[in-house]
Amino acid sequence: MIPESLLSNPTVAALADLATAAKFEFDELTVEIDAAKIAEALGRVKRDLKFERLTSVTGVDRFPAEPRFEIVYHLQSIANKARLRLKARVSGANPEIESASTVYRGAEWYERETFDLFGVRFLNHPNLTRIMMPEDWEGHPLRKDYPITGIRY
């Protein structure tokens, strides 16, 4: 649901057909995007809304709720001195989402980190391998069902 008060916001208006929800809290704008259309949304944000920089990509695990993962994109517009947060939800059973690295090359490492720590797969990523943990590591440490002490055998 996009609240009435936000429909006049140019950023929300430009993304209205791809967005499922939007909110403006703590002076920060968050737009939730349909996960299947995230690449299109990012492309539009970069091209039309002048958000030149992708600040970070990360995840939030809402376990045991479904859809389990929120993928969060922080963007910055240097020209307009604005910041924007995009969010897409993916399911725990099949955590897959289109990679942002085709739009912002800098997303590459952030997505590898999110893949490593949450186990979310980014489709069409040039090199989706672990970045923090050893290559043969089992499990994804930032998942809520991963114990803080690590898995012991």
């Binding site: 490492w109 590898r112 090199n127 391998t129 943990m133 803080i148």
Partner: protein, 412 residues
């Protein structure tokens, strides 16, 4: 077939080198630089494919210092989390404290007294000086200027003493807390800071005398380590690297926090975009930080060092002995912490290395649901292949040094 920016396995690079050998008709060499190489300032591993002395491909490999700090935040209550932030970027602990506290305070809606805000600004600028001094010292030693190291550490020692005076700790300060400062100002701080402020400009002149006109220094740094502004923006580079390419971007000016808008300072820029420009830029940043510290010292407002927020800020010791409420609050805060309203915020702060960001998600309990740390070094390191591919191996050290990364910040 080509190596992508993040190849981690050696076999990939070797396979690639073999493919190049066929196309070039002669052998290329794969060199493994790090993780225990003194000039990588920590445990960065670089896989370099060399054709003679020229770098054909570079692949950084990080993660050797991964400590799971983001996971750790989720089992600590909000106030305890401050101590973790010190350990992320261990050369800029107070910038990290500030980022974390500002994010939590935004969620709580706390109003911080001016006195505490100004102290935060002053000590954050000391942190910038501290970090830039370590950078200059190690960068110079990498390139071969031994004595600069000793000069820089002389002033750094004085800054660490000031930190110790305020917080009781030289490096892991945890001096900023949610709601203000950990302790009131120590007795005699003005003299300590004033002595430093009086002497420091002449000390910067000393460094410049040693380096700026030095023919070996300029020979090693001028025209080395070029990377285009477009590539940097695309790859997520922030901070001095961007400013040395002519883009006046600084969170302190673009979105002022902690009353930075009340201070008079400029954001220096250079246009040459090489290692030498980054050196001159950081020197100028030190002069600007000195200006800010001087203003903070002279105009420090009086008042409380903590916000008026019972239930979040610990009550005064004296009141606990006479007032029932204070005793209850103290017990509640210490045993279970305080609840933070549901919501999510992203707080950016200009650290010595660039934009450090804290994305904090609260579910209304005493512990953060998720804290994501956007370390500036992580974004900066991503540009290494662009920065050094095609250059000579002797320039790698100079180019890497000009980036000023901290591996604790990269790996978290």
């Amino acid at each position: 077939m080509s190596i992508t920016t993040g190849v981690t396995s050696e076999s990939d690079v070797r396979r690639d080198a073999a493919a190049h050998q066929e196309s070039r008709g002669h052998r290329t060499m794969v060199l493994n630089m790090g993780p225990q190489h003194p000039s990588t300032h920590g445990v960065l591993r670089l896989l370099l494919e060399l054709d003679g002395e020229t770098i054909v491909k570079a692949a950084p490999d990080i993660g050797y210092l991964h400590t799971g700090i983001e996971k750790e935040f989720e089992v600590k209550n909000y106030q305890q989390g401050v101590t973790l932030t010190d350990r992320i970027d261990y050369l800029a602990p107070l910038s990290n404290n500030l980022t974390y506290c500002l994010a939590a305070e935004k969620l709580l809606g706390l109003e911080i007294p001016e006195h505490a805000q100004w102290t935060r600004v002053m000590l954050s600028e000391f942190t910038r000086l501290n970090s830039h001094l370590v950078w200059l010292a190690t960068h110079a030693i990498d390139i071969g200027a031994m004595s600069v190291f000793l000069y820089c550490f002389r002033e750094r020692e004085e800054i660490l003493r000031i930190f110790e005076m305020f917080s009781g700790q030289r490096m892991m300060t945890s001096y900023f807390r949610i709601g203000g400062l950990a302790l009131p100002h120590p007795r005699g701080w003005q003299k300590r800071v004033k002595d430093f402020v009086d002497i420091f400009p002449s000390r910067i002149d000393e460094y410049e005398e040693l380096l700026t006109g030095n023919r070996i220094w300029t020979g090693r740094t001028k025209g080395v380590g070029y990377i285009s502004l477009e590539d940097m923006l695309e790859l997520g580079v922030t901070g001095p690297m961007l400013r040395a390419a002519g883009l006046a971007i600084d969170v302190r000016k673009d979105a002022p926090y902690s009353s930075y808008e009340k201070f008079d300072f400029t954001v220096p820029t250079r246009t040459e975009n090489d290692v030498f420009a980054r050196y001159l830029l950081r020197i100028e940043e030190m002069r600007q930080s000195h200006r800010i510290i001087k203003q903070a010292l002279e105009g420090m407002p009086s008042g409380s060092h903590q916000a008026d927020a019972p239930g979040i800020v610990l009550p005064e010791r004296e009141k606990m002995k006479t007032q029932m409420e204070s005793l209850i609050y103290h017990f509640k805060i210490v045993t279970e912490g305080f609840r933070v309203p549901e919501g999510e915020v992203y707080q950016a702060v200009e650290s010595p290395r660039g934009e450090v960001g804290c994305y904090m998600v609260s579910d209304g309990t005493q512990k953060p649901y998720r804290v994501h740390w956007r370390g500036p070094s992580f974004g900066n390191l991503q540009s290494i292949p662009k920065l050094i591919e095609g250059t000579l191996i002797a320039d790698v050290i100079a180019a890497l040094g000009s980036m000023d990364f901290v591996l604790g910040d990269t790996d978290r």
